[in-house]
Amino acid sequence: MLMFILRRLGVMMLTAFALTFIVFSLTNLQPNLEKLAKSEASVRMTDDQVVSWIANNGFDTPMISRYGQWLGVVPGWVKTMEDGEVRGRCIEKGADPAAAPVRCGLLQGDWGVSTVFKKPVSQILGRSLGQTGWLMLAVMLVMVPTALILGVLSGMREGSRTDRVLSTGAIITTATPEYVSGVIFIALFASATVGVSPLLVHLGLLGSPDALFGARKTLFMGTATSAMDHITFWNFALPVMTIALYGIGYIARMTRASMTEVMTAQYIRTARLKGVSFRQVVMKHALRNALIAPFTVIMLQFPWLLNGVVIVETLFNYKGFGWTLVQAATNNDIEMLLGCSVVAVFVVLVTQLISDVGYVFLNPRIRLA
């Protein structure tokens, strides 16, 4: 077991280095640096000036060495300008060059400064991850129980009417990407002109202070910007539903498949034949074995949830991790994008590890062997 975890960790580290190096080289391509030079210094720079700006800011060393500096394993670059000023990766403007640390990179906790937000990357990442954390928490709380219950219900009696209805529903939700379901939800529930809200206003259930759903003009809010300060059901329900919907269908289908397989096993038939009630069989014998496979699936859903988060945060204007990533990518904010990538890669790899180790741990046939 220990060897297995160690080997997995080794592969994981290798993957992490490979992925961050790919991201680093793709964000530090020459055209990106030229764009950065023009946006940071002046749009009207000549080509020569661009080249010297790139050199003066330490971007002219080989890619692998810059990657090492960014990681913090290679000493940061130091250069003496023509006017005698000493500049370097680790030397802050106006600070004494002698007092600056030799290395400054991820390992030293220096993630660089965002050019869009004009703040340290780590600070922005911390704030936006906090926002996204609340979103993910709400999504998980809605998605996992719903999906498991629906999956178990439909897998309990394969081919029954409940099964047919729930399976069709699951297929429909997996065919609906977040940007489609989000648009449909906003049109249905958050528009004052179409959908459910005008109808409710007409019926007197919405739009007046003493109405059942309150004095607002729409049932839910179409943006989640206000949820950053204060989360309410009203401003948070639609983004959470939009992300959860896709996952619910997928996890429910996996749970159903696993449940139907378990329900045809010999020991279930034995239990039924010795007179255990159907309820008891499902709750005591089937459920535990049927939930092993969905655990892996839920863990592997995280990378996809990350996609959902990016889309939903953009659609609902919720300034979390996904929104930050989009801002960094569209504005050529290299350090910020690198920071986001590190977090994304970390999340994906850790969930993969948990899913692998968890699967082995949960499955007695492998654990005890």
Binding site: T15, I172, V183, A187, S191, P303, N307, T314, A329, V345
Partner: protein, 387 residues
């Protein structure tokens, strides 16, 4: 002229789709009449789910084919005074003999939503299936030897596949589908690598089958090489002397990225199935007869893995459609004028709570196409399990 009622709008739209209905009726009559002679495709018509899914998919395929007849306006034209017009509104000053109504309204720059949605199907159905086919070629060509030979080759290829799969898709798109990347020429090199696989696949396919019959082998392999290298030079490097094969650099970038994201998934499925099938007796029999490894892989194992692969192919076209929509939604790679569904949703979302129809029409179109593909895959899975 007055604004049309919803009933009139639906009737008018059904009328515009007339060529599609005719084509669908013809397809279904022919297929159901001859379904016993059509193999797995014919069996599809025994499953209601599969029939519905196939119908929805074919609806969009025929819409893409007949799009020129179906559209009511030029999808790029702007009609003054019709900004954000509601569905069914009449044009203010229609040209002589032109269609007088905006069936599904107009968007924020007064373009016809209905025509854009119909034209969008053409963009999506041109790229998604082709990209999926390429991803399958790459996945199969690499997955077969990885699963069959195992060892170091398998370890290396699996590591690469997992590397791509561990990338969050959106991050990858933001890194790969940018104008700066096009400048560096990286997409061309990607294309140069990825587009080799179909040629390699077909050369090995025919060579392993016919190498005992050199005349036939030379004919087939030669034909593949001539057509393949001709298309290859045009698609990857834009160097086709006759100018038939060519691809817009932005489109090439989108295409290559989508193929790149999809191939590792196919690789994993193929590899898994080969590892399962290679333990069967008929493979051992083939090995004893002295058949070459590539013959066994391509002509013994691959045909026996076709059921799950066809199902995955349908699901993957749907997934590719979703990916293309995602790209459009973030405004990556496609031109801002493009009527593809993802970009139209992105255009429409800014005014979503005021005027939802410009975003809703393409959203529902995309959803129905993916749903159709999923139902089709479900039907195929059910029917192929009955064998």
């Amino acid at each position: 002229m007055d604004t049309l009622s919803w009933f009139q709008i639906i009737a008018a739209m059904a009328g515009r789709f007339l060529p599609v209905w005719v084509a669908l009726v013809v397809t279904y009559t022919l297929s159901i009449t001859f379904k016993r002679r059509l193999g797995l495709y014919g069996k599809l018509f025994d499953s209601p789910v599969g029939m519905i899914g196939f119908g929805v998919v074919m609806f969009w395929v025929f819409t893409a084919i007949f799009a020129n007849w179906i559209i009511t306006m030029d999808p790029l034209a702007q009609f003054s005074g019709s900004k954000n017009a509601v569905p069914g509104s009449a044009l203010q000053a229609p040209d002589e003999g032109a269609y007088g109504y905006l069936l599904l309204g107009a968007d924020h720059v007064a373009r016809d939503v209905f025509s854009r949605m119909v034209m969008g199907s053409r963009v999506v159905l041109q790229i998604a299936p082709a990209a999926t086919v390429f991803a399958f070629m790459v996945g199969i060509t690499l997955g077969l030897p990885a699963g069959y030979f195992g060892g170091k080759l398998d370890t290396g290829l699996s590591f690469l596949a997992n590397l791509v799969l561990a990338f969050p898709v959106i991050l990858l798109f933001y890194l790969l589908v940018t104008p700066e990347i096009v400048k560096t020429g990286i997409p061309t090199w990607f294309a140069a690598i990825l587009f080799v696989f179909p040629i390699v696949f077909f050369v090995i396919l025919f060579n392993s089958r016919f190498f005992t019959n050199p005349a036939k082998r030379n004919l087939y392999v030669g034909a593949v090489l001539v057509i393949g290298i001709w298309a290859y030079s045009g698609l990857a490097f834009n160097l086709d002397p006759l100018g038939i094969w060519s691809m817009d650099p932005n489109l090439l970038n989108v295409f290559v990225s989508v193929v790149f994201v999809n191939s590792p998934g196919v690789f994993r499925i193929v590899r898994g199935m080969v590892m399962d099938i290679k333990t069967r007796d008929y493979v051992a029999a083939g090995q004893t007869r002295g058949e070459g490894p590539w013959y066994i892989m391509l002509w013994e194992i691959l045909p026996n893995a076709r059921g799950p692969l066809i199902v995955d192919f349908c699901l993957r076209i749907g997934y590719t459609t979703i990916l293309l929509g995602t790209l459009g939604f973030f405004g990556l790679g496609v031109s801002p004028e493009s009527p593809d569904w993802g970009s139209t949703i992105d255009d429409g979302r800014k005014l979503l709570s005021m005027v939802p129809h410009p975003a809703l029409a393409p959203a529902l179109a995309l959803m129905s196409l993916v749903l159709g593909l999923n139902l089709l895959a479900d039907g195929l899975r059910e029917e192929s399990l009955k064998d």
